[in-house]
């Protein structure tokens, strides 16, 4: 088929720099190879013919037999990320080997670095350098290693998770892991709530930090951050099937989102609750904004999502009376929690004044806050900054703050840029396009699957909701898993969208 195609398109040795037909036939016939040929061709007419060829065939990469090998990347990535939950040291070493291997072996690794990729590299440089001026380098070494691992995952995602099917598979596996965590949390909540009830306690809100007690190296707040980051992955699968109108799969795909949401609503944390609301609101808003769902479906989606939230909270409040109070009223413990946070932030900002430009070194906030406490303060020991922006400013100074902010802004920029590209619905259609990057140069109009864009909307919404949550809690840098899930969301929010447009 490919030889005939080459003949039809007039591609051969006489075309100049084009690779020869044997090379082409020996390849997997992936669209990347076809793009290679097109980009190397100096014949505009040939490029246009190639563009029409690509446009004619809907490039669902996984449908090509040889591309199934790439699916293994999605499975491998999911396993690697999951192994970091138990903080297996071997996982970090495997991560390095996988990064090296994929860089050497993968054709995708030939893509060009984008500004956001450089931004991520600059963050790692700052974190490593901070070890040398850190107030306590033993803490900063561990933080720097954490960031290095996260950045490796980011590049691995960029290189290896390119297609809608890979994204869907990775999301499915991470979503399933989130469901597993949810069942674990539900069981603990039930047991502990029953114990408290048997002891005569009717209010659960003051005991919210004891109801779900994760394994020893995890705090409840950090555990909920992990679960919150599992939500975009499970919701993305639901949205994908919604877009592709696969009714049976929609029903099945609803369950993980439901279970994760149910557990998150048992956190009795206002920040988690409002992050949840923000996630669903933003995900639906982005789907509507980029016209990924018809108006009627979008209205139905919004209605169903918020009705479901209401029903879940109501049901949980029936089983555990007073639960809803955690979200609509201020319990005294919550008032104290808020006041304590403001106290810690004030103390942290005072620290910033002493090291404004480069900070005190990663991982040292609690150590630095220790002596700033007033012995008459009853809010308790400041074990962290309780706000990610505050933590970044204290530990990395204004310079680090600018770098991290730049990274986030570039992620949002890339997302917006690629989301504005047209997408394929059920039938490909060729329309003239005004493109401003390599796609224009090679004359190939970029196309994205609608469902791929929809999933990206979910990941972007997830990213925003986590950042919202981290305004009042700082857990991303506490464990490798939290940071890695964050960069996974960041990479998936835009990188696969750019897959078709990035030429070698």
């Amino acid at each position: 088929m490919y030889r005939e195609t080459l003949n039809a398109l007039g591609i051969g040795r006489e075309s100049g720099k084009v690779t020869n037909a044997d090379d082409f036939l020996g390849s997997t016939g992936s669209p990347h190879v076809i793009q290679d040929i097109a980009s190397n061709s100096h014949d505009d007419l040939q490029s246009l013919r190639m563009a029409r060829f690509i446009a004619k065939h809907q490039f669902e990469i996984a449908s090509l037999p040889a591309e199934h090998a790439y699916i293994a990347w999605a499975v491998g990535m999911a396993m690697l990320i999951a192994s970091l939950y138990i903080q297996a040291r071997i996982a970090e070493f495997c991560l390095l080997l996988v990064a090296l291997g994929s860089s050497i072996l993968s054709r995708n690794a030939n893509m060009k670095m984008r500004p956001v990729d450089w931004s991520v590299l600059s963050i790692s440089a700052v974190e490593v350098i901070s070890i040398f001026y850190s107030q306590y380098s033993a803490n900063s070494i561990r933080s720097a290693w954490l960031v290095v691992c996260a950045i490796l995952i980011y590049y691995l995602i960029r290189i290896n998770i390119r297609t809608a099917t890979q994204v869907a598979l990775l999301s499915t596996l991470l979503g399933i892991a989130a469901v597993g965590l949810s069942f674990y949390g539900l069981r603990l909540f039930t047991v502990n709530a029953r114990l408290l009830g048997a002891a005569g306690f009717s209010q659960l809100v003051p005991f919210r930090s004891r109801l779900i007690s994760p394994p020893s190296s995890w705090l409840p707040g950090e555990w909920f951050t992990v679960l919150l980051m599992g939500l975009p992955f499970s919701f993305a699968i639901l949205v994908r099937y919604l877009i592709d109108k696969k009714k049976r799969q929609i029903v099945v795909a609803t369950l993980p989102t439901l279970v994760v949401t149910l557990t998150l609503l048992l956190s009795l944390s206002r920040a988690v609750f409002w992050s949840l609301v923000l996630f669903f609101s933003l995900a639906c808003a982005l789907l509507i904004l980029y016209r990924l769902v018809p108006p009627r479906t979008s209205a139905l989606l919004v209605g169903i999502v918020f009705t479901a939230l209401l029903v879940i909270v109501s049901s949980e409040s029936i089983i555990y009376p007073g639960l809803y109070r955690a979200y609509i009223r201020q319990d005294i413990s919550q008032t104290r929690s808020t006041a304590g946070r403001f106290g810690i932030w004030n103390r942290a900002f005072a620290l910033v004044g002493t090291h404004p430009f480069v900070g005190i070194g990663s991982g040292n906030t609690a150590l630095a806050l220790l002596s700033t406490t007033d012995q008459e303060d009853t809010a308790g020991f400041a074990s962290r900054a309780f706000s990610l922006p505050v933590q970044v400013v204290v530990e990395n100074g204004m310079f680090g703050c600018i770098l991290y902010s730049t990274f986030l802004i570039l992620i949002f920029t890339e997302f917006t840029y690629f989301m504005r590209r047209p997408h394929i619905q059920s039938e490909p259609s060729i329309r003239p396009a005004k493109l401003k990057n390599n796609c224009m140069e090679i004359g190939i109009r970029s196309r994205y699957l609608q469902s791929q864009k929809a999933m990206a909307c979910c990941f972007m919404a997830g990213l925003v909701c986590i950042l919202f949550r981290e305004l009042t809690y700082s857990s991303l840098f506490e464990h490798s898993l939290t940071l890695i899930l964050f960069v996974t969301l960041a990479a998936l929010a835009w990188s696969p969208l750019g897959a078709e447009c990035e030429s070698p």
Partner: protein, 396 residues
């Protein structure tokens, strides 16, 4: 120029691999630290010191390891100050050498981490043992400045001040400690302090109560109410104590000691059913409170529930023996690395001396249940036998 990602990632991964080999030693050092904790828990100090030496070799820039090595070798030092002891010979040459080595390690620890409050405290103790009181005073003060919220440092400093005859300054430190943690009133330290200085002890509780009342006038705070309730309880003002503790329990029902103290008040007022309910609530919130088991066991003993009483009294002893390390709670958040399983305060008896001790009453209860078992009777004065880190000379 657009650089291919491939080369960037390869370079980054190679650098990361190098970094990983660099920190591989650090991971091995942390493994040695974990082994050190386990050895200390089983009182195997020779192996413990070997493990921490190995950790230092692997990670020489980790300040905490020096602190732990100093702690390890300091086990050979006397756990009581010899200043007013009948033993006038002072430290032996060997003990002196050990103290000097420990000092050197603490110095290195503080060079690497100037915010190690435990290191300041422990160095103060060793300097005091060696007779350098000026340096000791400075370090004790530094410990209370670096971590002002730690009652133990204030108590330790206060005990040294008292030994040095600076009674007013000692009293001030004791008062701060009690304001932070009124549970100290139930400790062997305070009961002995009350014996030798009853007016001072009374003055401390009175002043602390006044300060807390003032705080409450400025604004309602359930934690201050809980602390004040405990103070009034210790002073015998049960109605006021009960009012404060009930108010605190309604606002913050997740404070386990509030329920414990409320239970003791109900018991003191003759309402054993309500007392039992409060003790059970305390345990539902925090199952590690030894005193709750003790109080339940004593109530069960009164009711003739011998089997249940024996179980709860034994639980009280177990929980007291495995009391959560005081410094570990902070250190696990301050320092990345393995979870700290032991206390790192010197002298080693300091924690037992300054925290509530339930063991004596528990052994006494078991002795009444099993009069034939002599070992219970032999241990019935365990709390009273916990040595004070300082001997207070001619002080009453």
């Amino acid at each position: 120029m657009r650089v291919p990602m491939k080369w960037v990632v390869i370079a980054f991964a190679i650098v990361a691999l190098g970094f990983q080999f660099f920190i591989a030693n650090f991971n091995a050092a942390d493994d040695d630290l974990k082994a050190f904790y386990l050895d200390v828990l089983s009182a195997n100090f020779s192996d413990a010191c070997g493990n921490i030496n190995s950790a230092i070799r692997l990670w020489p820039s980790n300040g905490r390891y020096y602190g732990w090595r100093a702690y390890c070798v300091s086990q050979e030092l006397p756990s009581q100050c010899l200043r007013h002891s009948a033993r006038k010979s002072g430290l032996s040459d060997q003990a002196r050498a050990i103290a000097e080595a420990a000092l050197k390690d603490y110095r290195r620890d503080l060079e690497l981490n100037g915010r190690d409050a435990v290191a300041y405290h422990d160095r103060a103790w060793i300097e005091h043992l060696l007779g350098d009181d000026v340096a000791a005073d400075k370090d004790w003060r530094e410990a209370t400045t670096v971590d002002p919220g730690n009652a133990m440092f204030h108590l330790s400093y206060g005990m040294w001040l008292e030994e040095s005859r600076d009674l007013q300054a000692a009293k001030a430190q004791y008062q701060v400690a009690i304001e932070i943690s009124p549970a100290i009133l139930d400790s062997p330290f305070f009961s002995q302090y009350r014996n030798r200085s009853p007016e001072a002890a009374d003055s401390i509780t009175r002043q602390a109560a006044l300060m807390m009342e003032e705080k409450l006038h400025q604004g309602k705070d359930p934690v201050w109410e809980a602390r004040l309730g405990k103070l009034y309880h210790s002073r015998g003002d049960l109605p006021r104590a009960r009012q404060l503790l009930e108010d605190a329990s309604q606002q913050l029902p997740n404070l386990p000691l509030v329920w414990l103290n409320l239970g003791e008040i109900h018991e003191g007022q003759g309402d054993s059913a309500q007392a039992m309910a409060c003790y059970r609530k305390a345990l539902a919130v925090d199952a590690s409170i030894a005193e709750a088991y003790l109080d339940i066991g004593e109530l069960e003993l009164q009711r003739g529930q011998k089997k249940e009483a024996a179980q709860d009294l034994q639980m009280a002893i177990q929980k007291w023996q495995r009391v959560n390390p005081i410094t570990a709670a902070h250190n696990n958040r301050l320092y990345a690395g393995p979870r700290q399983m032991i206390d790192d305060l010197l002298p080693t008896t300091l924690v037992w001396y300054t925290t509530p001790c339930q063991a004596s009453r528990a052994w006494q209860g078991l002795s009444r249940l099993f009069p034939g078992k002599q070992q219970y009777a032999n241990r019935s004065q365990m709390c009273e036998q916990v040595p004070s880190p300082h001997l207070f000379g001619g002080l009453k």
